[in-house]
């Protein structure tokens, strides 16, 4: 998931069919771990929460193609080029399945895309950081896909069936991406001193933003409770962040590079790593649109969309002509 943990319940909607009996029956199904399907009755707030979360996730997949696509033409070997291109292609595929999953909730892809292009919809702010060296491609696979997996594995059990099923497919590919990213880091760390320095520099820049991917601390994430009750979310932001840190620090040790956090220490009593305070001001700035690449990312998406307008119109016009011929 690349949704920032900002998912929150939608506004209470008009009572309509949402009688206490209906709501109670719905919650019983959730508690019994039944999957909710597109045609089933669901509270409006549940539907809206999912639309927001799934569409943010889809947008993140699409915007996430940009920082990695940035190194496609410069990938240092044909093998790495193929792996990176296949990865970027997978992300486009993830975007497609997720838009389809969101569409089952009654929102069109066109509307979701329009919200992304206008800046109204959010996507994961990790993709507002720049990829400055080849090592950033390794760091993204290792850390960003790694964090995404932590978030997404529980989503495979999400109460909403179409989302859960999309996640099963996505997770398989994300774990492949994570391993490939780590493999780039291994090559760099076993390489020349310059390559290793490149790897350390990438870790320095990507570590904190990766931790921010899990969203605000639990104390500041009051809307997660409803998502947990609905079994859209299974673990809190802080729980997932801790799992990620615990899994990732030993990998950095293996690579022989260090996290840019002086406070990072293994706590024997708890069996977890404790780590320093995240710069939440930076997080809020990037979410608010003031990260290094927010404007660039949206401009690029808008340019592609606008440059393609005549092409989509042509396809539409051609399809209409064909339909008219067939009807005649």
């Amino acid at each position: 998931m690349y949704t920032q943990g900002l998912d929150q319940a939608g506004k209470d909607q008009e009572a309509g069919a949402e009688t206490p009996e209906h709501l109670e029956a719905f919650q019983k199904r959730i508690d019994a771990e039944e999957k909710i399907e597109a045609k089933d009755w669901m509270p409006e707030a549940y539907r809206r929460t999912l639309v927001r979360q799934i569409s943010q996730h889809a947008h993140s997949e699409i915007i996430g193609m940009q920082p990695e696509g940035n190194w496609l033409t410069r990938a240092p070997s044909l093998k790495r080029k193929v792996i990176l291109l296949a990865k970027v292609q997978d992300e486009a595929g993830h975007g497609l399945y997720l838009y389809s999953a969101a569409e089952t909730l009654g929102v069109s892809r066109g509307q979701m895309v329009a919200d992304l292009l206008s800046g109204k919809a959010k996507y994961s702010s990790i993709f507002n950081y720049p990829t400055l060296t080849w090592a950033d491609i390794g760091a993204i696979g290792w850390l960003v896909d790694g964090a995404a997996i932590m978030n997404q594995i529980p989503l495979c059990r999400c109460s909403y069936g179409p989302y859960a099923r999309a996640m099963v497919r996505v997770c398989k590919e994300e774990s492949f991406h994570q391993r490939q990213g780590f493999d780039i880091m291994v090559s760099l760390c076993r390489g020349t001193a310059e390559q290793k320095a490149m790897a350390q520099d990438a870790l320095n820049r990507w570590w904190w933003p990766s931790l921010m991917m899990f969203g605000p601390n639990d104390a500041n994430s009051k809307h997660s409770a409803q998502s947990m009750a609905w079994k859209i979310k299974r673990f809190s932001n802080d729980e997932l962040r801790q799992k990620f840190v615990d899994a990732t620090v030993p990998q950095a040790d293996f690579l022989g590079i260090t996290m840019p956090d002086d406070a990072l220490v293994f706590d024997k009593d708890s069996g977890h790593y404790s780590f320093g305070e995240i710069d939440w001001q930076e997080f809020m700035d990037v979410v608010a649109g003031n990260g290094p690449c927010n404007r660039q990312r949206l401009e690029k998406r808008n340019k592609a969309h606008n440059d393609g307008a005549w092409v989509r119109e042509a396809a539409q016009a051609y399809a209409e002509k064909q339909a008219a011929c067939a009807a005649a």
Binding site: R74, P76, A92, W310, A315
Partner: protein, 252 residues
């Protein structure tokens, strides 16, 4: 030129066409008009890079000088690349890149078809694998050409202009030189004159269905097959090779 040298030169031409077209196509990642086209573009570029890798590896084996696929891709200078000029033309707009790919693949499919029957078994095997991919690309690409040609007035005009602009790079595909002759005579390889006729027939059909005009016979550019490229080719190569060149001897 010995028989082996001709085979190596020919295999490298095939590989360079595939790699350089893929390199142009990946410049377009995240710039496509639809998400479905992102998938198709990446897919086709992956096919081309896969073909290039098989071909470079074979060239390396034939040469026996210890070079790798990456040495061919990243350590040769621009004038050592032997791709067609058509392939390296800048992307332009969506219609330009569709026309560029269509004109090339309409040729490539016949070239590969002939190569599946050539006497060099490795080349025949690679061609047999590649032709399946290229047939699939052609269906997709020619459908786009037809939609753009027979879409709106604007798309019709734009894609007609693409065709008129790129047409002068098509002649080079059919000009035989000593490498082509050696492959044809020694390995029962493609006969470029015969392919020219097949290509023209296919292109005329698609252009007619697209309600476009076939450009008039005209002066044709050439030089790519001999290593004389366009000015912008240097930038493509510089970008592609930057890491390998900047960190000599590093492995990635």
């Amino acid at each position: 030129m010995s028989r082996d040298e001709a085979v190596i030169a020919y295999v490298l031409r095939l590989a360079d066409n595939a790699l350089i077209l893929a390199q142009r196509m990946i410049e377009l990642v995240t710039a496509k008009p639809e998400l479905e086209e992102e998938l198709a573009n990446a897919n086709f570029a992956l096919d081309f890079i896969g073909q290039a890798r098989m071909l470079y590896s074979y060239a390396a084996e034939l040469e026996g000088a210890g070079r790798s696929e990456d040495d061919f891709a990243f350590m040769r200078d621009g004038n050592e690349f032997r791709n067609l000029l058509l392939i390296e033309q800048p992307n332009g707009h969506f219609g330009d890149s569709i026309v560029r790919q269509y004109l090339f693949e309409a040729f490539y499919v016949h070239q590969l078809d002939a190569l599946t029957r050539c006497k060099d078994q490795r080349i025949a095997e690679i061609a047999a694998r590649a032709i399946k991919e290229v047939r699939y690309h052609l269906r997709h690409i020619s459908h786009w050409l037809i939609r753009l040609g027979d879409g709106t007035d604007e798309s019709h005009q734009r894609v007609q202009a693409s065709l008129d602009e790129l047409w002068r790079f098509t002649g080079e595909m059919f000009v035989s030189d000593e490498v082509d002759v050696a492959i044809r005579d020694n390995l029962a390889g493609p006969d470029l004159e015969a392919i020219a006729a097949l290509w023209k027939r296919d292109v005329e059909d698609v252009i007619a269905e697209a309600t476009l005009q076939l450009p008039e016979d005209q002066w044709m550019a050439r030089g790519g097959k001999q290593g004389q490229h366009s000015e912008h080719f240097g930038f493509l190569i510089a970008e592609m090779q930057f890491l390998q060149r900047s960190y000599a001897g590093a492995s990635w």
